[in-house]
Symmetry: C2
Subunit: 179 residues, 2 copies
Amino acid sequence: MPLIARIEAILIADDPSTFVTRALDRVALQFGGIEGDRHFGIFAKAGVRQPMYKRGQEIMNRRQLSIVSVEELQGIAERIGVDHIKPEWLGANLVVSGVPELTKLPMGIRMMLPSGGGLVCEGENEPCSGPGRIIASHYNDSLLTKLFIQKAQQARGIVAYVERPGEIRVGDLAKIHME
Amino acid sequence: MPLIARIEAILIADDPSTFVTRALDRVALQFGGIEGDRHFGIFAKAGVRQPMYKRGQEIMNRRQLSIVSVEELQGIAERIGVDHIKPEWLGANLVVSGVPELTKLPMGIRMMLPSGGGLVCEGENEPCSGPGRIIASHYNDSLLTKLFIQKAQQARGIVAYVERPGEIRVGDLAKIHME
């Protein structure tokens, strides 16, 4: 049985003042990700996530898209004691359902879209304080920032890049190729 | 203990009539791989190795470089009953030593060069008949083609792409980052 991810939401971070995303019905994925999104680009500057490179060096952009799962977000919400966590608060670009352990998908595997486009999983997106602070401000509880980082380990979703461009729509069923 | 790969040879396939490579002392790796090599490019056409895409569609090139290990090549030679297998015959771009199970390195991990350049492992390069035929012709034994495909499984090396450009020289010690 192939693993199928249903696309529940598509989001873009196109407000330069924040990483928080807003929802779209569909988007034409390009080489580099979602045009206009803050993580768009075939290349990117190395940052804290790539300590083996000097800060600011140009590298291939393996973190074009952030993908989270409905099931994992609900699990984090329960563990930190809040009603829900919106994917926008985490700067997510895609929300999927049907893959409860999305974050454990290995690097290098493909997620194929009905349009013929394809994404490559680049592994766990480790939780950091930015989204924690957004959650904390929404629930007016500053302790949630640290709690989020602790309780979102191995559940905060993955990053991915576009291997082949193609449209993606809410409701699409994406096939995960485990090899 | 970090895993260290010593660069034993650097090779280029720049003769359009064959995938067989020739040796260089050093090369400046670019985004896309080795300029002038038949697998050079940030993008590539989908082929038999990417059956999830239509033949000829443009995709990100995850197979810029072929890397083999001295130890694994010697193991294949022993299993097919020949004295040695030259990396040139397999179209290899890099030959390393010190990583006996190179082919089992997981997708997504990095190989960092002393120059600051970095490669990303894209997993096993599955053996096919092309190199088998070259080996068979060198030893004048047509049975070796099929035998190579059988006995080179999980030992024929990996493919990789350039994450950050940088020079690579024979004798370099490349550090393998397992996470």
